[in-house]
Symmetry: C2
């Protein structure tokens, strides 16, 4: 057998030409991710503010079995035969998903959102939902996707995959600004392009940590209606964050301008790879029949993943059923944990770099109400070399904000992710970070 391998290798000098993902082989986002992995691996004792993953101390191996059995029990209670249950679990399932009704119930219970199950498509995480929506909406080279920048890399990745043009709309330090979005829309229109959608994470944004206030939400919905674009609302953190959340854009969406992207990665578990999209917009076909955008997304999904894992859907449905649809209750403990971590981080930062000192240095950070991310502005330029120095000499890792900036910009920003750290790590990590910032600022 190993002889075959050697022989194959000896004859394998075929250079395959591949399609570049707008420069895939030197893709800045993937390069940063690889670089971060490499740095993390090379400096195992460094404290890392990089990974955006949920804290997994609340997970227990048995949970997933309990979830799946609860869903199967629910099917039996609803009158499914043993054979129906086998079919649901093992066979190809409906492309739009098995658990749309349970998701719709949860949106009513937890999000003040009343949409028919038919307007929901269950997806392989919110990532697949982004791909489906972009593929459906972006018809030609003049269509442009506006994104709130700095921006989650999943949406820009999906856009790159489909060759969709992206225009960043810079967030201000306090977050979304409607006037900036309007200016971007007008500029695109003046250039003969058509802004079809605006992507935003309104709650506890990744990477900035900002949350849109009620007035900004109202203005965004008005702009969408006035300028005829859709809002792609992605909000994976809202139900694992402390305090009373703002209403979703979707729950305020009187003009059906919002496509809501849902994720269970933070609220149930990432490994399930279950998300969803609410797409209750009307689409007219060639003969004037009306159907839902969700139907069109399901058609596209049949060519991407056919359907979402039944086993994963069963696990998520079981978790939802166990909490009577209330993810907020299911995640109350996690939300408090993340909230404490954020408060502790802000408190430690304030100790390490008191107001007068940080003003003198030209350092500042925002004060998110959530629990995953915060943004720090530093007076020096940040790049991979600087990150390596931080890891090697100061034992602390973070993510350069350039990673999240589809255009230029972000060169003086770093993202701190705190969801995965213990209080001790936060105390020690912020101290190391302060030493790094002091030293680096001293070089200016």
């Amino acid at each position: 057998m190993s002889g075959t391998t050697v022989e194959t290798q000896a004859r394998s000098r075929v250079q395959l030409e591949i399609k570049e993902l707008h420069g895939s082989l030197s893709d800045p986002v993937l390069d940063t991710m690889n670089f971060l992995n490499e740095v993390t691996h090379r400096y195992p004792d460094a404290i890392s503010f990089a990974p955006g993953r949920p804290y997994d101390g609340f997970f227990d191996t048995e949970q997933v079995f309990t979830h799946v059995r609860r869903y199967l029990g629910h099917l039996a209670e609803q009158g499914s035969s043993e054979r129906d249950i086998r079919t649901a679990l093992y066979q190809y399932g409906p492309t739009a998903g098995l658990i749309r009704g349970i998701i719709a119930d949860s949106l009513r219970a937890d999000e003040d959102t009343d949409v028919p199950a038919e307007s929901i498509v269950v997806t392989v995480g919110a990532q697949e939902a982004m791909l489906l929506v972009l593929r459906a909406l972006f018809a030609g080279p003049d269509d442009v996707l506006l994104v709130s920048s700095p921006c989650y890399v999943g949406i820009t990745g999906a856009a790159r995959l489909l060759d969709v043009a992206v225009r960043p709309v810079e967030e201000r330090e306090d977050g979304f600004n409607a006037a900036d979005l309007e200016a971007a829309v007008l500029a695109e229109q003046a250039s003969g392009r058509r802004p079809r959608a605006f992507y935003v994470v309104p709650d506890h944004s990744n990477p900035s940590g900002n949350t849109m206030g009620p007035q900004a939400r109202k203005e965004l919905l008005e702009l969408a209606e006035r300028y005829d674009f859709l809002v792609l609302e992605d909000s994976p953190y809202r139900l694992v964050s402390p305090g009373v959340p703002q209403p979703t854009l979707k729950s305020q969406d009187r003009a059906r301008r919002v496509v809501h992207l849902g994720s269970y990665s933070k609220t149930v578990f990432p490994g399930a790879r279950v998300g969803f999209v609410v797409a209750d917009q009307c689409v007219l076909n060639a003969v004037g029949e009306e159907h839902l955008l969700a139907d069109e997304l399901a058609k596209i999904k049949s060519m991407v993943t056919v359907n979402t894992s039944s086993l994963s859907q069963a696990a998520v449905a079981g978790a939802l059923l166990g909490a009577r649809g209330r993810l907020s209750e299911l995640n109350a403990e996690a939300a408090a944990y993340y909230g404490n971590a954020m408060r502790e981080t802000l408190r430690q930062l304030d100790i390490q770099l008191p107001a007068a000192r940080r003003e003198a240095l030209g350092v500042r950070w925002n004060k998110p109400t959530g629990g995953f991310f915060l943004t720090m502005r530093v007076p020096f330029r940040v790049d991979n070399t600087v990150l390596t120095t931080s890891a090697q000499d100061f034992g602390v890792i973070w993510t350069p904000m350039t990673h999240f900036c589809p255009g230029t910009g972000g060169h003086h920003g770093i993202r701190l992710s705190i969801s995965y750290l213990t209080p001790d790590e936060i105390e020690e990590g912020t101290a190391r970070l302060a030493r790094f910032v002091e030293a680096r600022s001293g070089l200016l």
Copy 2:
């Protein structure tokens, strides 16, 4: 709540323009699938030779729990801590997959294929693998995908999604013919296009049921090397089919011309949505570094689904571990069942339409060695109206072969899928089919 819905609906007359999937809203493949679903729903007493799904009498609800626990036990045996196991099950996983080593072991045990785990990417079914491979390989409008036609709709669907040009290469009644493929390659080259890959299901093809012989396989591999294209080998049925399988194209691939698409939908269970791709081809990047095509596919996957459900991967890995990687042994009972069903179908057809009679009518069919599909040629033109008549007046449903023909053609063919039928249904179904064929031929 319902007030909100009504209000939203009342204001929702926004007509969204969407990107057509080369005429998505009247897509012939999706239309046929919808039509088949509708016909099946409308005539519930009809016997259906349409669904290509596996027989699920061998499934048992407890199996999936056993599989997942076996994989978790395996991780513990390999030295994983309780925390490592929780991380594997619940957290984001590696984009290329958790279970690549187990898949590589299985390919060595069952398929005489020795590839490094690093050349494998675990995907959300073979469908996602097709999308990734097409996205990587097809760089521009002059690149063309050749497909053995009639053809599985998944590959043409993925091509449509990515706007990849497809040229069908007609199969003969006895299957693949190298001269036809060579002619198609030359014709494309003469038109200034570049055939980059040829897609084929070499074993028990969907829809034809044909299997390529050893000589045809040898000739295909030679053509791929001579004309510098890749072979996309998709073979979901080979290990659930009776008899000794032919070697895969990948196991004969001395020049690394074969990208092998793997599916566990027939061999483990469809609802898992786990497949894989073996892509051990070398790719050179801009600075002359060599890496695997698999690495490139993983990058693209990070923008499609991020990673494949850990829970589903655990279930598939547990099934593989339980059979020491030998899917052929795991599926011995199922393969015998499908083989019997095929033999019974051929025997009943021969009784219903004996040789002299079918010759007089101009009806014929192939005699597949597998167990899922066979092709029948009929003297009349087949379309949806004819299918409705068959369901309504004769109580039998099948799939028009046009459904599988990306170009024109297939108007006199029907696919019979028998994997899901009992012997009694096969006997009654073939009798009904014969009555339908007799009646319809009488109208000519």
